[in-house]
Symmetry: C2
Subunit: 501 residues, 2 copies
């Protein structure tokens, strides 16, 4: 058997296991009976261990080395896949198994302690675990080897290949300089949208049907996926022809389901449009976490929150909730769904203030790993930064530093990807206008296909064959540039809040 | 690690794989998007191959031998599990892999040819495949080694340990002698139940809610299972705390869902009540296919079709479909749901004529394997036997010999289990009355728990620790005896059809 064939067969086996694991997880979230959960978790553990052992076997390591010796003759997709597989292989193999196991146990313990700590707003309870997590993560980086000159850059690179604090400091700085004044102007504006009608009772079944309409408009293929309900919405790839979306229905705020579905629909659009050449390979996935987020945010904000998109769709929405919207004008509706109000909780933030939440976390993470601050400093610094950037101050740690689970899972370096997604999306939108100048008109006509085709050709199609920074460069002709997002936000919110220029 | 520990760890791994396979299958039936089916099938294949290799590895064979050398010192549940594992091991290992693969391919091909043949009522198309299936199955038996003196007995024993043609000839003969005259009397009876009201429109959602009520009354634990919709109803064990049931909703015949759900609920009752001592072992399952069917049929017929069960439940049913039943009296309802009418199609048969359908198939299978008849004789013989036993004759092979998929999958020896389930159930009912004399009254009160407890203590609890014939003997004090089923049917149908004694 040829080396390439051995490689693809190996991954087709791994993909099979991953399909099973993904479905076991999806089922757990969408309706598995609660008594079966314990055994289910063990089963997920059994299969995950199998994937781990397939991905790190000595035999596989030798196969990778043989392939690396012939890169010149390899199919380019295989070649890039070997590179990715090697990266994963090294991450797993360089850590002694007993250290790795200790790290997994620590994370699992810390997550359950974090739950209690958040419930009781008790940071001191979580503190020693967070300290251990930071030092254990530093130790992991010792094993892996530092990348791009610092421990924290090594972590950033795992989620967003090529991303560094040098880049982030610069783009976040510029962005903050333009967002903070905007947030302040909005707070001072007398022209606030009327939003009471948003919170009227909207029955779940009708929300579900309307959400399906939204997915259909995005071009979501229901023959290669399905929509279900979960506590936290997500998109999951079961197999390449089975890309599922979940959403949450809040009967006193239909926006949760509608914009949540459009957001996850954006992730699904990415996965449903990956090129056939990637089939079965490890690069058959999004280019990075930030690139994936750019697609969901593109759909949610640049399509879903656009006034043009609602020009016809508002009438459609009225068919699903006639009483709720009967006295509401289109413009008032658009203003309401674009309301911006600083909040303490990241996952409830609007698109204007979202990046500020990320910056708080980024600066604290960076400080922790560069040794500039201690875990015990976090609550105070957190609250100060919220006051500085968003103009509001948490009254306790549950709504402050303890709000997110990420640190309990040692996902340091992950948060920035969310903000990158916003910036990528705005930059793509600008580039798209050159090829699709009638963008707004297409949204009015609810003809998203040319928009989707553009995204597919330029982004989705490549999967992880190209790296995120290369995609950005190839598509927009420049590197990461926060001005596009800032311009978009200024223009949009000036209009919504009738701000003076 | 002790031998016992190695054995249980091995099976806990296998159970993990089996959970994944079961869920992948369940999902395929309950709503997986159609484009994902092809990859899904490959994934099921990948994991099944893994289970096969875990169950047949030389290392595992050696472990079995070591355990067999110490049976005297083994925990009895492990001891019995080793016996079962050895049986499976031998079945798989004795056939040369290339022969086994050829057999699998033949079955898969034959199933797709059978579909076309049934669609076009074209037996000659299927004939060469059926001939190959019979001879390939004989060859398998050559590898396995004959059991109980004949090829066909070997096959029977796989589904129903200890079952032989000697036993079946005798019990089927006795049963037929009493059922056939009863069928004839009913056909001649002028007192036929009025059934038109059964076919009125009963909305799916209401059927679903009522079906859930039925499961709840049976003691089905919804925290350890769920009810979904599929084209063909089934029960599936995902893990020991996750036993799922599916049903089918026919809006012009609510009986499909209600009795289908109760039937599958009986299977689920068995699986939900397996003893804790069996946890994770290969004997954590029903004692046999026939024993499993006895539990589903007990629920469906001895509970679900009893006049006592409907005494209160008919009012409940009326709440779900008030118009449909408003002019119907309880007695007329009970007579209608117990209508008996010979039909050509097994899966539509009522409890009286069902066993006759099985006898036709049994006699033909036995003849094929004992060399007394040729595959080409089947259509003619099939039709003759239907005329003889049921008084009706198929007009084509689609509604005759081609109706069931079982033979295309080489499941020879499987059909008799269905009829055994009826006989076991009737025999258990009689034994139960000694311990639960107020059985009818409990049904009226909709207090099924004492009935369920009796079944659990005597049957469910043991799983496959005891063999089916031993369970029967221990519970009823005698061997298989068709008189109980015959008595029950005579008494019941004499009443329903007001037959003269």
């Amino acid at each position: 058997m040829s080396l390439e064939k051995r490689f693809t067969e190996h991954f087709s086996k791994i993909k099979g296991y991953e399909e099973a694991i993904a479905l076991l997880y999806w089922d757990l979230r969408t309706g598995a009976p609660k008594k079966g959960v314990e055994l289910r978790s063990e089963t997920i553990g059994t299969l995950s261990a199998e994937v781990f052992s397939l991905s790190t076997s000595d035999e596989f390591g030798e196969l990778l080395s043989s392939l690396e010796a012939e890169t010149a003759n390899l199919d380019p997709f295989i070649c890039r896949s070997v590179e990715e597989a090697r990266k994963e292989y090294n991450l797993s193999k360089k850590v002694p198994p007993e250290e790795y196991k200790k790290f997994v146990v620590l994370k699992s313990k810390a997550e359950s302690v974090w739950e209690t700590a958040k419930e009781n707003s008790d940071f001191p309870l979580f503190l020693p675990y967070l300290e251990d997590l930071v030092s254990a993560t530093k130790k992991m980086v010792d094993y892996w080897g530092e990348k791009n000159g610092s421990v924290y850059n090594t972590l950033l690179d795992q989620y967003e290949p090529g991303m560094t604090t040098e880049i982030l400091d610069s783009v976040f700085g510029k962005l903050r300089e333009r967002i903070v004044p905007l947030v302040q102007k909005i707070a001072a504006s007398p022209n606030k949208p009327e939003t009471a009608f948003l919170y009227e009772h909207f029955p779940k079944q009708a929300q579900r049907d309307f959400s399906r309409e939204m997915l259909a408009q995005l071009g979501y293929d229901f023959n290669a996926g399905r929509l279900d309900e979960t506590v936290h919405p997500f998109m999951i790839s079961i197999n390449r022809q089975d890309i599922r979306v979940t959403t949450k229905y809040d009967e006193s705020d239909f926006r949760t389901a509608v914009f949540g579905t459009i957001h996850e629909g954006g992730h699904a659009m990415y996965e449903q449009n990956l090129g056939n050449a990637l089939a079965g390979l490890p690069i058959e996935t999004g280019a990075s976490m930030g690139m994936h987020e750019s697609q969901s945010l593109f759909c949610e904000n640049f399509i879903g929150r656009s006034e043009y998109f609602w020009q016809e769709n508002f009438d459609l929405l009225k068919q699903y909730a006639p009483d709720q919207f009967k006295n509401v004008q289109l413009l008032d509706y658009v203003r309401a769904i674009n309301e911006s109000k600083p909040s303490l909780i990241r996952i409830e933030a609007d698109e204007l203030s979202y990046a500020l939440h990320i910056m708080v976390r980024y600066e604290l993470e960076k400080g922790l790993f560069n040794g500039e601050l201690q875990v015990s400093d976090l609550p105070q610094l957190w609250n100060d930064k919220y006051e500085e950037y968003l103009g509001i101050r948490p009254t306790n740690d549950a709504e402050g530093v303890l709000q997110d689970v990420h640190w309990a899972g040692a996902s340091f370096g992950y948060f920035p990807s969310y903000a990158l997604g916003y910036m990528y999306a705005a930059q793509f939108k600008q580039a798209m206008l050159k090829d699709v100048p009638n963008y707004d008109e297409l949204l009015v006509k609810r003809n998203i296909q040319p928009v989707r085709d553009w995204l597919t050709t330029n982004i989705h199609h490549y999967g992880a064959f190209k790296k995120p920074m290369d995609i950005l460069k190839d598509v927009t002709g420049e590197g990461l540039n926060p001005d596009y997002l800032a311009n978009y936000l200024e223009e949009k919110y000036t209009k919504i809040y009738q701000l003076k220029e």
